[in-house]
């Protein structure tokens, strides 16, 4: 009893309060660092080679159809300053493009990642909340209301600038144009299609009526509920092309998936031969020095063709090896003398 009162203020004797917690105390000793560098270096070189080879094996066919330059393989220069103009890009495949083949369109010098562009949308509208059909968010300005003060749905610059060139691919077989079927299903993210974007509840079984009292975006030729009248599951906000467009790019040069070529005789890819890509040229990019391109590409486990990662791994891996050598030399020759020895 007395003892207790005597040591009333004695601090607890725990490893925590006495700062004696058992601990791992790593140190940058030569035995760890130099082998570590070698291992990292070798692993990185391995990964780099794998990535590089994989990337090399991906085939990409790329064509610029902006029409700024006169080009023998396309006649799009005539459409440069016109809308609703049809032009075609001719190309020849010397080697089969292994399937499945993906067809992309690409834009450059296009600032989808501009902050003002990015915020210029209304998530509530796009998730089918009809209250916001009548009262679009202020972020959508100047595409919030039209000149007659009717609400625009979908509002904002982002939706307004929907890419509206369309493509048809023909294979030229013996002077005959044979259309290559495109598959446009499921080209957008599953989450976008199933969760993020939702059409408003149908009114009297009609999507169009749900959009009553709203007007189409200024640049659009037709309202959102007429994007694909043939397929109700691809219509309205759930239109795959619309979804792809609305997933804005991170960088000013980007490509977006347009269609897949995976049906019928093209399931194995595009066979060799001549092709003609017919383009409905609508989208003006010339005004801001933008470029429009198309890509035919297949993919691998690491995605699309991208040499960067492989090369970066190779460089970093080699650097590690070089550094480990330098360290070894320093360790062996120039080390600070231990005071004991």
């Amino acid at each position: 009893m007395k003892k207790q009162t005597e040591t009333l203020n004695r601090p607890d004797n725990t490893a925590f309060t006495q700062q004696r917690l058992p601990a791992w105390q790593p140190m940058l000793s030569a035995g760890i660092v130099i082998p570590g560098f070698v291992v990292i270096g070798l692993a990185f070189i391995g990964i780099g080679v794998a990535l590089f080879v994989t990337s090399q094996n991906i085939q990409v066919l790329e064509r610029d159809y902006t029409g700024v330059e006169q080009n023998s393989d396309n006649d799009c220069s005539r459409c440069l300053n016109r809308t609703n103009c049809v032009c075609a890009v001719q190309f020849n495949l010397a080697k089969q493009l292994e399937g499945p083949v993906f067809f992309y369109y690409g834009l450059s010098n296009y600032f989808q990642n501009h902050r003002k562009y990015g915020v210029s949308r209304d998530d509530y509208q796009l998730s089918g909340d009809t209250y916001y059909f009548e009262n679009p968010e202020d972020d959508c300005i100047p595409y919030q209301y039209d000149s007659r003060n009717r609400p625009i749905v979908p509002c904002g610059s982002k939706a307004n600038s929907l890419f509206n060139d369309t493509f048809r691919l023909y294979r030229l077989v013996g002077g005959q144009k044979k259309q290559v079927p495109f598959d446009g299903k499921g080209i957008a993210w599953w989450t976008d299609y199933n969760l993020k974007y939702r059409n408003p509840t149908l009114v009297d079984g009609s999507l169009a009526k749900a959009f009553n009292g709203t007007v189409k975006p200024v640049n659009w030729p037709k309202p959102v509920y007429e994007l694909d009248t043939s397929d109700s599951s691809n219509n309205g906000f759930l239109n795959q092309d619309f979804l792809v467009w609305m997933r804005r790019a991170a960088l000013p040069g980007f490509r977006k998936l347009y269609r897949r070529i995976s049906e019928g005789e093209y399931a194995d890819g595009l066979p060799t031969g001549n092709y003609s890509l017919e383009i409905n040229y609508n989208y003006p990019v010339h005004g801001f020095d933008g470029r429009k391109k198309v890509f035919f590409s297949n993919v691998s486990w690491m995605g699309g063709k991208n040499q960067f990662l492989g090369i970066a791994y190779l460089v970093v891996g080699s650097l590690c090896i070089v550094m480990s050598l330098v360290m070894l030399i320093v360790y062996a020759k120039y080390r600070f003398p231990d005071e004991d020895s």
Binding site: E6, T7, N9, R10, P11, D12, Q18, Q19, L21, A23, W24, P26, M27, L28, I40, L51, F102, Y110, F111, N113, D123, D129, S157, N160, S161, A188, W189, W190, L195, K196, R247, R248, A249, A250, L251, P252, F254, K256, L257, F288, D289, S297, V299, W301, M302, G303, G304, K305, N306, F308, L309, A312, Y313, V316, C320, M323, M327, V330, R335, F336
Partner: protein, 1140 residues
Amino acid sequence: MCFFPQVIPSISSLSWFTTVVPLVLVLFVTAAKDAIDDINRHRSDKKVNNRKVQVLINGELRSDKWMDVQVGDIIKLENNQFVTADLLLLSSSEPLNLVYIETAELDGETNLKVKQALTVTGDMGDSVTALAAFNGEVRCEPPNNRLDRFAGTLSFSGQKYSLDNEKILLRGCTLRNTEWCFGLVIFGGQETKLMQNCGKTTFKRTSIDRLMNELVLCIFGFLAIMCAILAIGNYIWELQEGSKFTVFLPREEGVNAAFSSFLTFWSYVIILNTVVPISLYVSVEIIRLGNSFFIEWDRKMYHARTDTPAEARTTTLNEELGQIKYIFSDKTGTLTQNIMTFNKCTINGKSYGDVMDHTGQTLEITADMDSVDFSFNPLADPKFQFHDHSLVEAVKLENPEVHAFFRLLALCHTVMAEEKKEGDLHYQAQSPDEGALVTAARNFGFVFRSRTPETVTIVEMGVQRVYQLLAILDFDNVRKRMSVIVRSPEGKLCLYCKGADTILYERLHQSCKKLMDVTTEHLNEFAGEGLRTLALAYKDLDEAYFTEWKQRHHEASTALEDREERLDKLYEEIEKDLMLLGATAIEDKLQDGVAETIEQLAKADIKIWVLTGDKQETAENIGYSCNMLREEMNEVFIVAANSPESVREELRKARTTMKPGAEEDMYVSKRILGNSPKIVPDEVINGEYGLVINGHSLAYALEASMEVEFLRTACMCKTVICCRVTPLQKAQVVELVKRYKKAVTLAIGDGANDVSMIKAAHIGVGISGQEGMQAVLASDYSFAQFRFLQRLLLVHGRWSYLRMCKFLRYFFYKNFTFTFVHFWYAFFCGFSAQTVYDEWFITLFNLVYTALPVLGMSLFDQDVSDSWSFEFPQLYVPGQLNLYFSKTAFVKCALHSCYCSLVLFFIPYGAMYDTVRYDGKDVADYQSFALLTQTCLVIAVCIQLGLDMSYWTVVTHVFVWGSLTMYFVVTFTMYSNGMYLIFTASFPFIGSARNTLNQPNMWLTILLTSILCVLPVLTHRFLVIQLKPTINDRVRLKVLQAKAAPPPPSKRTRMRRTSTRRSGYAFSHAQGYGDLVTSRRYLHRPVKPRSGGFTPTGRSLGFSPTGRSAGYSPTERNQNPKQEVEATSLQMYRTRDMAF
């Protein structure tokens, strides 16, 4: 600050919550911490304020709180109570209205002092009615800080009485040996001289704090520059690109390129404000708080005997503990225990006190060793301990020299005895040294029992004998000895003398030559152990000679001219041809482990200055015994001059001795002429020197014209001891060093006299667990023992500093890296103030994802364990040199961040450019990019943290891995379906985590990025360790090699020095009580007539040796107490007459 522009829609680049949430949290935590601090401070103040004291109110005594005491109140103090306020002493229980007080709290002196009330007030006694009716008027000087002076007058019943310091009890003193006294409050609270001496309470901030503030200002500038660059970029972009891109992104009305760039500037201020770390301050506070708790929790800084744990009273100074360069220490109660023990002696050439084992080896004396049994002596003091049995056997064998030795100790002193019950003796010694000697004699069978002015009664081996006290030849600093002349009951006349051996040896009879040599040897041994020695000698006197001498003495003491000289001559004459008996060795008990602590601190390159109010000899002696002054030192300079010129001369001489030929007075005078004080650089000298300076010289040395001179000299010395300094001078010395040295100072003390320096120093440490509270209350840290200081500095301080620096470096790195990525992205998004990361990530990055790991590091990190820290005190040096965090380190952090942010932006950029998922779908979208970059960032900063952390405890593991897990959990949750369905607009990132993080190339990117971020750091650190290892690295390597956790605590052998230095007459009082003892006024208890046949002879009534009180010690408080003594002598006779 950034919240304001954020509510303006046109520039709001981020949602309001990104800034508000952290800000609110920061403010909340800061407020909470400050509140706790305040409450604690109030609590300790209350403790003092609520002490009870008896106050005379409306004619009766009531117990009241200290804080309610007001000027004009009459209060009653009882024995051993603290004096509440500055009081005018009115009356006391003792005859002649004397009171005894101890002023150790005030000036560090341990001897008792006497104060005396005016007779006119003293007559009131303890009559409450008389006191209540007392209506005098006191006029006095305004409150001031002079402890040794008071001037005022008391007007009472038409008479005026002058008041001086003799009638004033100062707050901070303790009443001793006085049953009660009454006092009139003259100054209370802040006006007391004690508080006036306390110096200003300044808000203390650490140098890191100041540096941090500077850096934050720099960061603000840097932020402005970055934003300006981006705004210009935006202007150019708007002109070249934006104006054309209006097809798809129309401009708002009235916005042109210039205005847009203006808006962009502010938008980027919002985004990049994370470089200005809001949470830095609160994190720093938390870390300091945590480290303060570790100090309080430390069992090795807990003193079991007094049940006192260490206390961190300020929680904002921890890291400064790791940077101390100068320690200013009090002596009494801090270095020493203020206990004297009789440790050894040599009698007739035989040394006693050492304990030998059977092989003849001297054993270390430890507490559990059995001590000598004194049960044969019923009057023995049970607290007295002695370990050498041979001495008590010698006493029992009636060895005549041993008996004479202790008889001398029992007779030759000025101690007062108090015997409340039969056998319950209490000695009241003027100095603890004397007390120790008399107590020793008491235990060895020569019990000093009582005294009258003419007699001394002792019990010699159970037989009571009364010696007639014929004369006391009192001691002082010049004589360094004291003698008594007594007549034994057998009628033999004898002179007993004790004093400094050097003095005594000159007066010995030639026959003692042989004994002298042996004794000298012993004395050297004792002195080598730091003991205070006194030589003892006696001389049988011839009756006729003495009578004649007595006559001359009487003449001399009544002479009007040259009294001092004449008395001196007489004393010299009789104190010669003495027979040496032996010598005593008294230990001024140091606190435990003081010498080791000082040694350790010295190894850590910390300079220790002792500032004490005590005598020069005592201070010097302690300097030797705790190893601050050493025999091996090239020279110990003693500056004790009385004029500015000679002080300057002595200082200069000392300096030229230390550093010959380097007389750069130009440099000094130039410095003095310059307005702003500049830093005096450290000067390198060869050899070790010590400096002892007394208060009087110090007063001159601290004058503006000489302070630099003093500082330079003092700083060259390894040890500096300032004695006889006032509390204010202590503070001045500290201030001086603070002003001219770019160094962190620490002051440690226990008494009220140390408060000023505790407040003045960067860090103040109070010794707690003792009676006084003043020092502790003013201090920043407090603990019970001086030796804990080494743990506070070498372990806690060093760790705190290390942790704080690591924290700051990492924190700046983390925030810069985080922010700079936005900067790079600006070049690719049209300078549109688009953030790279998700807004939620920005909100949570500092608060949730990275807060705990860095806190874990800065709370638990240790480079090496505490025992290794003690093993290598040199580890402390980098802190003193500010090596771990400085502006350079900050710039390095920024460059490192710059590199990392480039990697963090461009590797994902390259990896994402034009790529797609393995199912051909999009992945180069903004949300995926944001997710990728932020994941890379979190992992990269985590790895960097892992590199910085050298001590992975369970807690840190949990923090690090927990935070990483937390990141993924929170990310997946926020990007989940449910969150989007509930808060549609707040979580637009739905699905990006699932769609992105299932891509192998994303993970490969993350791997590459994080590794690439740390590779250069790893390489750099490794190379530095190999090529230019810091002391830290080397010790850590050693620990690694030793593998074993703690090194066995090295057995420190007690340092024995062979010293020729003799501590001499190092009594802790300057002047004897002789006159008081022989005068009757000291004796307040009537002497009971003891054994029959003893009749007090009235012979020595007229013999009252006047003290040699004046003129030998310039700083002695009682500059001239003679008048008072004489005055009271007169009164004494009067009272006595009345009594008879």
